[in-house]
Amino acid sequence: MGEVIVVTSGKGGVGKTTTTANLGAGLAAHGHRVALVDADIGLRNLDVVLGLENRIVYDITDVTGGHCRLRQALIKDKRFEGLFLLPAAQTKDKTAVSPDQMKALCEELRQEFDYVIIDCPAGIEQGFRNAIAGADKAIVVTTPEVAAVRDADRIIGLLEASELRDPKLIINRIRPRMVRHGDMMSIEDIIDILAIDLLGVVPEDEAVVISTNRGEPVVQDERSRSGQAYRNIVRRIKGEQVPMMKLEEGGLMSRFLRRMMGLS
């Protein structure tokens, strides 16, 4: 039986879809069978980020509506053995799927896959409720901006209210130099407010923009910092103890490395 993980944030544009794609690709690279579900009906993106847009025949609403079998709608990734995508519909809206249908869908997917990762839409309305309906675990993505952290806080409250306890945090697009100069929220500032476990920190990286536009997850880019960050996160999801990557020289991370290790 696989695990169903929802990737959510509240605010748009913080990197939910990029994170979903990279975690999926990273887990598949470890030999797991992974299904990615794009729950952002009406604004589908995950297929584009994965470079699979031109293979879509059926989508999630065709499955929940009974127009096709789940297997027909799942698109096999072109690079990673074991990685599959269930795309969102582009011509419908969030009401095309109900939370109960999502639950049933997740149940069906977890029979066949080790990990089911759901890309949640921005917002806290029905799209969000659909996306979390069938999930056992949640990953909250935020960026070091006050508005993004505020929305992440709201989302964590809503997740807790929906019995999705202990969400894990990914801080995306951090710029160590700006943090050092006091121009950007630090990891500690963010953890201080959100008070949830940190799963990983992804530095701002041009390689992400390039890889996203090419439809190739950056996690497979051995040389990029962000790729390394995603590979570390993947190993932590698998249950390995991986120390936090040093974002730059000077021990910025050291204090909260200790926190991650549980020494505080």
């Binding site: 006050v146 505020r150 806080d153």
Partner: protein, 127 residues
Amino acid sequence: MGRERLSCTGEMVDDNTVLIQRTLRSGQKIHYDGNVVIIGDVNPGAEVVATGNIIVMGAVRGVVHAGAGGNEKAMVLAFRLEPTQLRIAGHITRPPDGQDLKPEQPEIARIKNGVVTIEIYNGERQG
């Protein structure tokens, strides 16, 4: 907490108190007719409204309103008092613009001589 301890002037205050053992996150709101004690934080975007006193065993970063029914003797006490906005009875205050002072000890906010006054809380009752 007994009635006497809560009442600085010796008058009876509302002894109706609720205990909240979690952090209030953005979008969450507590509205209570009485005193509120929170073991946790009040995050930005969260709101606590009480007709009595508010005590937060953590950081207050959201909006707190004590004495919401008009009780001018109500107070707000927090381990770290850095609210978005602080109201006591009909008085509305906010931190001064452009100052990013982080309190490092518990503080108490109450009305003194008609203005909301914030002082370091030293653990003793002061009139």
